[in-house]
């Protein structure tokens, strides 16, 4: 475990939706921050530093928005960092904030991540094509669909697995008042009937574009002792290049290495039986079986069977994305921190209607770029070593 102990003592998020036209970017962030501070029982004097995570500046058309947001983030007069590691940024924001406490530099750190995609158009921002490049791809879905096809071919998965994940995550989302999409009566059949966007990925197997923010308060052992806390047992981050000869785009090495480092640091030898709940970054439904294998929850090629058997539903052997996950809400910069926060909420027993009973150990996972940035953390209801 790296250095001193750290724990999440409070989480907060906004009601994610397509367009939040009632708030400014500052107002959107403060909704999540104020909820996290209330959940943690802390006020501004207790916060030593602020870490902001957000995906490309092009989304909101502001260069280094932490500067204009300094007052709103309560950072004025304090240390302020801005993390940007593409789609995984929400996760790496949590990791960086945790390291500020684990290194003994600070005692209480506020981590915030947001995206207000309605300020522009995420599809445009992702497809700004420099000269000499040929615009073939079609947004994120077009980028990942060929690799989903490769997974299906490699694992022999039947075509309905994606629909099972989408129906499960969206029904979970209906239990979560903060989720953008509330589709309690979605079914595998209705997903399969939805329009094919980038074959093999269908409309209902694709995440929405959301405005949203998430915040967590991370504290040192002295602050977290004797109160409900989600103790950080391990964090991990790995990166690999976008494309290189012989790269495995289906189950990237960076994901495997990050998971291996994480389980080792957390003292977990059999993840599928020692982890009670996992919030995994699944923006396109097929990524659930793919990441189950990449993370070492199942053997290579077996992830889809685990999903098909209903093991990833609430009540299954390893509930995945009880919050509804990225398929139900996707404010890109915040999605990774939402995974982290939802994992903490589970072990804090504060996940409300989508609480997994008796959850003591939870995984938060985020990936970004061309499946090349990975940020993960494991949180537990007990202090590390006390388990």
């Amino acid at each position: 475990m790296g250095g001193q102990l750290a724990a999440v003592i409070g989480t907060g998020q906004t009601h994610h939706t397509a367009k939040r036209l009632d708030v400014s970017m500052a107002g959107l962030c403060r909704e999540a921050i104020d909820r996290a501070m209330a959940d943690a029982g802390t006020d501004w004097a207790d916060i030593d530093a602020v870490v902001l995570g957000k995906a490309p500046d092009l989304f909101e058309g502001v260069m280094m928005p932490e500067l204009f947001l300094a007052d709103a983030l309560g950072a004025t007069g304090k240390p302020l960092l801005r993390v940007h590691t593409a789609g995984s940024v929400g996760g790496s924001t949590g990791n960086v904030a945790a390291s500020l406490v684990q290194s003994g530099v600070h005692r209480r750190v506020l981590a915030v991540a947001f995206e207000k995609q309605s300020e522009s158009n995420a599809m445009w921002a992702l497809s700004v094509m420099p000269p000499f490049h040929m615009p073939v791809g079609a947004g994120a879905g077009g980028y990942f669909a060929p690799h989903v096809r490769s997974y299906i071919r490699r694992s022999g998965a039947p075509n309905h697995i994606g629909a099972i994940v989408a129906a499960k995550d969206r029904r979970n989302g209906a239990l979560n008042p903060y989720a953008h999409l509330q589709q309690a009566d979605i079914t595998v059949e209705s997903v399969q009937a939805s329009k094919m966007l980038w074959d093999p990925i269908r409309y209902d197997e694709t995440c929405p574009s959301s405005d949203g923010a998430a915040a967590v308060v991370i504290a040192d052992e002295q602050t977290a002792k004797g109160r409900p806390a989600a103790w950080i047992h391990a964090t991990a981050m790995r990166t690999e290049p976008t494309t290189f000869a012989g790269r495995d785009q289906v189950s990237p090495q960076a994901g495997k290495d990050a998971a291996a480092a994480l389980w080792k640091q957390a003292g977990i030898s059999d993840p599928v039986s020692e982890v009670d709940v996992a919030e995994i970054y699944v923006p396109f439904s097929w990524f659930e079986p793919m990441w189950l294998e990449n993370l070492g929850f199942t053997e290579e090629g077996q992830g889809w069977k685990f999903t098909e058997a209903g093991e990833t539903a609430i009540g299954g052997r390893l509930p995945v994305n009880p919050s509804g996950g990225v398929l139900s809400s996707n404010p890109i910069g915040a999605s990774g921190l939402l995974r982290y926060a939802e994992a903490a909420m589970q072990v804090l027993g504060r996940a409300g209607d989508h609480q997994v009973d008796g959850a003591r150990v939870a995984l938060g996972h985020a990936y970004g770029g061309g499946s090349q940035y990975f940020s993960l953390w494991v949180v537990g209801s007990e202090r590390p070593g006390a388990r």
Partner: protein, 320 residues
């Protein structure tokens, strides 16, 4: 061999979007006020009237709520002279940037002063707002400030529902430069050649070549001309229209592994039904007419099936 001119290729890159911003309660009230020719400040925790109004206090981070209307005249706290205005600035003839402390405000508002020349600018001078012709609820409803000894131009305020949104066009131009390796590849394309480069460390052939091999961190070097045929490793059928799309969906976007290359690149597959495209299918490039060639992969309009038997999965599975 490809004619080498050392200068890397470069071309303009325009990044532009009209951002649609929601203002929230405080900035919304300020913008609505501007349209009506009034200026609202807000009282900070230290008692100072902040203009423009801030949503959250700079000292305590608390949400601020007490609005205080201020005057439309004020004092220049400091100024600088812009002899050659840049695109998008408030005035397109020489002007002064200034911090103007409006009567009743305690902080300076950053805006332009139309003084005509720098010697008519001085710290401490009084200036007044010159309202824009068509106020819409934006900081540009203040066209600029002007000295008091100038004939005021009467302009009517606007009205309507409270302002909640502002559109801020952001258009930036860059000069994009291709890497030296890419430039040789692009010049090769202009002559109908597909020129890859081999990494001296891992011997893999990259197309397009790389300024730095992603696994070894060294530039790819010796050039290899590759044939214009190969196989589809994997693909997707694009059914969704999107901004800047070149051809009408549905079309197949496929990873093409050229014979002799160690990495596929993305291109279009046409010349058959989308449903007929398969992983491992052998394809050949369909070049555009020579007179349309430029330094771009678009010289190849698309790839077409050759009709030869597909490649076995095992022969390309390591490229997925």
């Amino acid at each position: 061999m490809v004619t080498i001119s050392s200068e890397p290729l470069s071309a303009p890159l325009n990044v532009g979007f009209d951002y649609t911003r929601s203002l929230g309660p405080v900035l919304g009230r300020f913008a609505t006020g501007l349209r009506a020719h009034t200026i609202a400040g807000i009282r900070g925790s230290d008692g100072r009237v902040l203009v423009p109004p801030a949503e959250y206090d700079p000292v305590t981070a608390e949400k601020l709520t007490e609005f205080v209307d201020v005057g439309t005249e004020g004092v220049v706290q400091t100024w600088s002279w812009i002899a050659q205005p840049l695109a998008g600035q408030p005035l397109q003839h020489p002007f002064a940037w200034a911090l103007v402390k409006l009567d009743g405000a305690d902080t300076g508002l950053l805006h332009a002063v139309d003084a005509g020349s720098p010697d008519r600018m001085s710290t401490g001078m009084r200036v007044r707002v010159r309202w824009a012709a068509e106020p819409v609820g934006s900081i540009r409803d203040i066209e600029c400030f002007e000295p008091l000894d100038v004939e005021p131009t009467e302009r009517a305020p606007g009205e309507g529902d409270p302002v909640t949104m502002v559109t801020t066009p952001i258009h930036l131009t860059y000069q994009h430069t291709a890497s030296p390796e890419e430039s040789r590849y692009l010049r090769g394309l202009a002559e109908g050649k597909l020129v890859g480069q081999r990494c001296p460390a891992c011997d893999k052939v990259y197309i397009p070549p790389r300024g730095s091999c992603p696994t070894d961190g060294v530039p790819t070097e010796d050039e290899i001309e590759l044939p214009d045929h190969g196989i589809v490793t994997t693909f997707c059928v694009v059914n969704v229209p999107f901004l800047g799309q070149r051809i009408k969906p549905p079309y197949v976007a496929a990873y093409i592994l050229l014979e002799g290359a160690d990495i596929p690149f993305l291109h279009l597959v046409l010349g058959c039904e989308a449903s007929e495209v398969r992983m491992g299918m052998r394809v050949r490039a369909q070049w555009r007419p020579r007179d349309q060639w430029g330094t771009t992969l678009e010289n190849i309009d698309h790839f077409e099936p050759t009709g030869e038997p597909d490649a076995a999965y095992e022969t390309f599975s390591q490229h997925l």
